[in-house]
Structure formats: C-alpha cells, structure tokens
Amino acid sequence: MNTYQFFNNGFGRHLTEQTNQPHVDAWRALSKSHAIVNKEGKPSTSRLTGWAIVRPDGASAQTVFQSKDISHDPRIRFEAFAEELERWDEAPRIFLTFSKAPLPIANLFMTVDLRAVRICSPGGIETFDYTQPVQEGAGVSQRNIEKWRIKNGT
C-alpha cells in the first residue's frame, strides 16, 4: 500500500469520492472544502484546519467533520503527536498539520520509523529523529513535542 492509498483508506475516503487514482483522490481531499460542524455546532463547510493523524484503521482530527468515520480529538497538535509517538506500535502513521491552504501531495509522507518522523504541512515537511534529544536548529514540531514530553514527564 503506497502513501496515497494509506491516506485515502484512513482519511481521504471519508471526505471525497474515490477513483482508481489514489494520488488524485488524496489531492482532492487535501485541497477542497469539506463538510464540518462549526464551533456553534452547526453544519458548515471549511478548508482543512488543525491537525489529523492517519492510522491503518482510521484517523482522528481536531476538526469535527460531519462524517462520523473520522474521530474528533480536541487535543492540541503537539500533545496528540507526542502521545502517538510515545505509544508507537511500528504501524505506519501520517501526521498532518493544516492551515486552510491546500496541502500539496508532494508533502504527504508516511512515518514508518521513529528515527525519521515526518510532520506534513502545507508549507513543507519536518523530519526528525524522535529517539534522539533535540539539537540546536530543530524544527517547531520537534521542539514543541519535546516540551510537551518534558512537561508531562514522559
């Protein structure tokens, strides 16, 4: 299963129609507006915001989607990512951060090894080694995940 099939299987298929071109389906899911439930609890549409984690058996996201197949998780992104990495079970994940801008499919990568964790965002990909202490010049995600770990004594 390649990156795009994995993404669609856990997340994309709940947001857009599927064709026989997984990377095109992934592009549609990552660039279009989707049916959500807004802060007032009313149905609305929005581009992707917040964060999501795609797993082999599904996905969770900070946004409340109208689709009940994507679990809602209100935690902040670094808390969610840090806990996911702490409970690493060797199965692939995709870590996504959104900012309403389309997330290019070239920035979509699975994480399959804690030594090369990849945080995918519209602006680029942050890759870091979760098994090593944070070095000078580390990226925003790695520094914040480390802060959360220290704060929570994990």
């Binding site: 390649n2 990156t3 692939p92 090894d113 990849r118 890759t127």
Partner: protein, 215 residues
C-alpha cells in the same frame, strides 16, 4: 557492468530540494534534456537496473555543512504563467488578479531548499562508466537553482569502486530500496520515499530502507 565511483568537484554550494539525489536521477535528467522523452531517457540510463531499481547510490555529502535557503520567485502573468495553467475559481476566473506592472501583482512563490557548502559530491554505481562519463562531461551545474550559479561543477572524476550503489560495506542501504527488494541490514532506517525515476511522481513512492542524511 562495472562498479565505479563518481565524484563531482564543486565551486559553489549545492542546493537540493529534498530527496536523495541519486546518480540515476541525475543521469535521467541529463538524458531527458537531450532526448525530450521521459520513457526513452529512463531506458537509456547506463546503469544496472534490477526490477526497476537502479544500482546507483544517493549523493554522499557532508551533512554538517547543510543550511536552509529560500528564494522568492516572481511569476509574471503572460510571461511565466499562462492562465490555462492556473486553477480557476467557481466563476471560471483566476483566484486573484495578476498584473504586469507592479511587483505586488505578480504571483509570488517562496521555494525552500537545503544548501550544502561542500567541496565535492560522491556517488557509487554499477553500470557503464564510459557512457556515464560521456553524459556527465557536458554537465556544468547540478542540483536546484543552477541558473543562479549554485552547484557549479569544476570537474568530474570516475574511478573503479567496490560498491554497487545499493548496499554499503556494512550492508546498509546506499539509496532508497523498497522493503521487499532489500537484502541488507534490516535494522536500517525505514522511510516513505521515491525509489525509481521519475522521482517526483507520486506512484513511484514506497516504504524503503534508506541511508540517513538527505531526506
């Protein structure tokens, strides 16, 4: 088929946009410029290829000299961008006005890369060293931002080697190799990566064993 080592001596920093910058990618790019056909270019790469995997290593660079570098490209309407290439809004128009006179009306794109202040780059491969040398002899710039003077090559050296470009002396991967095809040390790093040309194409990605360093 011979095992050989290719060294590019550089006179300006090498700029890379991500990935592993394998020798087959470099040769495929050179061939595409000559032939203008992607399939023909890939079929003409003078390196050993097993089930789609070229015996050609990733670029070996000193990662301690890596630094981030960004450029802003001003894409001008009627010059760099044809309206047919731009995604349209629901009314069939382009999302924002593109003007020709003021810089603020240009389509500005920020491109971020990594720059390596390294004196040389080394690749290991198995294939035809003479054909490889002929192809590279006309290459004077490598990597991204070649038109801005980055990645200038002073000279190429090709020498016999003992490595095949796929696995190194400790059975470690020297390039991205799909998990199913890898016969080396399975404690090596695993990543989701492109493993065959065209490296930019989403369908050429798989979970691979890959060297540490460039990503």
């Amino acid at each position: 088929m011979e095992k050989f080592e290719v060294t590019a001596e550089l006179t300006s920093p090498l700029v890379i946009g991500g990935g592993y910058f394998t020798l087959d990618a470099l040769l495929g790019g050179v061939l595409f410029e000559n032939l203008g056909d992607v399939e023909k270019a890939h079929a003409s790469i003078p390196l050993r290829c097993t089930d789609g995997l070229f015996h050609a290593s990733a670029a070996n660079l000193d990662s301690s000299v890596k630094r981030p570098i960004s450029f802003v490209a001003n894409l001008r309407a009627d010059h760099s961008l044809h309206p047919d290439l731009i995604l349209k809004n629901k009314d069939g128009g382009i999302h924002r006005r593109l003007g020709k006179l003021r810089r603020s009306d240009f389509g500005q794109v920020l491109n971020s890369y990594s720059a390596f202040d390294t004196p040389d780059v080394v690749w290991y491969a198995e294939g035809d060293p003479e054909k490889t040398e002929r192809l590279l002899s006309d290459v004077h710039f490598i990597g991204k931002r070649r038109g801005s003077g980055f990645g200038e090559v002073k000279g190429w050296q090709i020498e016999p080697s003992e490595f095949n470009g796929v696995t190194g002396p400790f059975d470690e991967p020297m390039r991205p190799v799909p998990v199913e095809q890898f016969k080396g040390d399975t404690d090596s790093l695993k990543v989701d990566a492109a493993w065959r040309p065209a490296y930019w194409h989403p369908e050429n990605r798989a979970v691979c064993y890959a060297p540490r360093g460039l990503t």
